[in-house]
Symmetry: C2
Subunit: 229 residues, 2 copies
């Protein structure tokens, strides 16, 4: 039964699924959806891929599924996946789930809204960011990253224990996003920095591959900032 | 092994878990945490219940778990629960998961932020709501409820098929919240209205019991509005 992944490398949960599928050797066909060009907003995408008109989406046989965390759980049931990514042990699995639910309105909301308002929207509209709105989102992002470091990274090498899990993949992909907008979550946070290095090392070469385009933008933006100084 | 639920009846995911535990006959002890009085913000709560200082939380034996959706999945593994609430069939379970992940930044974000800005914050600060902010949140809420009706309620009696699941419980509890702020999601939406009546009927008497305090506030607020007219 064929598995297709519709994704955009600039979408955090798209990258998380891409890395997860490659690391776990699940065979799939990748279908790039260029969000910047509005390819998810066509009637064809709505009718043939997803009524929600977002990425990522999988089509497994004729089963369409959206929402990366739900997709992850489905893939763990349908394919053979190393246990540590989504443990069968009830309490360990609960810890991974707890993180994946917590992140929506914390790390994900904070980092993505900051990225959106600082980097994406000015590119689309040509208007500068509203400074007050931006300050609010920066505060939300910094608070959530501080809480992440304090509550999730203190006692173990990885979020749910001494082995990497899906929670680490999803967290890392969100934390890479604001780097494009000039904010590096690892800066001044040695615990988070060490954890992120471990996550990258565990998931390479797929992690770097999935972040290739993002890292290119980070480099270009940093050149623009330096040229202005 | 004892199971404790820390909850506040004014919190949507608290009510969802309360209804789920009672409907499925899982034995537990309820521990009321009065959010309005800041009982979740004490050092004792932080150290003994949850470092995140939110509700709901469960303590099962000595295992502490936050995040209602993660708790729900854990309870379905640890206790005997009728299958339709969280189906073992992979595709049906994926559909319930898909809704539970989707709702965070749609129904939940929209309804709770509108409720917070229209009703809760003015009560706490004594200041009226900022009209511009409120209009933005109302728009987000209305959009998400419209999408909910269009994408989740068209083809079946319940969200994931012809039987009630956890997705319906979580959705209904979020949709009750803005009624306290004078907005009834069922008004002018016949499909949503019929679905909500079915959900209430399936889950009574526990649904009404969990919403008793909320319904009292709705009544009081409606008297205040009528007195002003």
């Amino acid at each position: 039964m064929s598995l297709k992944l519709y994704y955009d490398a600039l979408s955090q949960p798209s990258r998380a699924l891409l890395i997860f599928l490659k690391t776990t050797n699940i065979p799939f066909t990748g279908c790039v959806v260029n969000i910047g060009k509005g390819e998810h907003l066509t009637e064809q995408y709505k009718n043939e891929v997803s009524p929600f008109q977002k990425v990522p989406v999988i089509i497994h046989g004729d089963f369409h599924l959206t929402e990366s965390v739900g997709i992850l759980r489905y893939l763990c049931r349908e394919f053979s996946v190393p246990d540590h990514f989504y443990p069968k042990d009830s309490k360990l699995q609960a810890r991974v789930d707890e993180y994946l639910e917590w992140q929506h309105n914390n790390i994900r909301a904070g980092c993505s809204m900051y990225f959106r308002n600082k980097w994406l929207m000015p590119k689309i509209t040509g208007e500068p960011s509203n400074e007050k709105t931006l300050a609010k989102y920066k505060c939300l992002m910094v608070d959530s990253i501080d809480t992440f470091e304090r509550c999730w990274l203190q006692s173990n090498a990885f979020i749910a224990g001494d082995k990497i899990s899906a929670a680490d993949i999803w967290a890392a992909c969100e934390l890479e996003q604001p780097r494009m907008a000039g904010y590096d979550p690892a800066e001044g946070r040695p615990i988070l920095s060490r954890w992120l290095s471990n996550v990258r090392a565990e998931l390479n070469p797929y992690y770097e591959e999935a972040h290739k385009f993002l890292n290119k933008i980070v480099q270009l933006e940093s050149k623009v900032v330096n040229a202005k100084l």
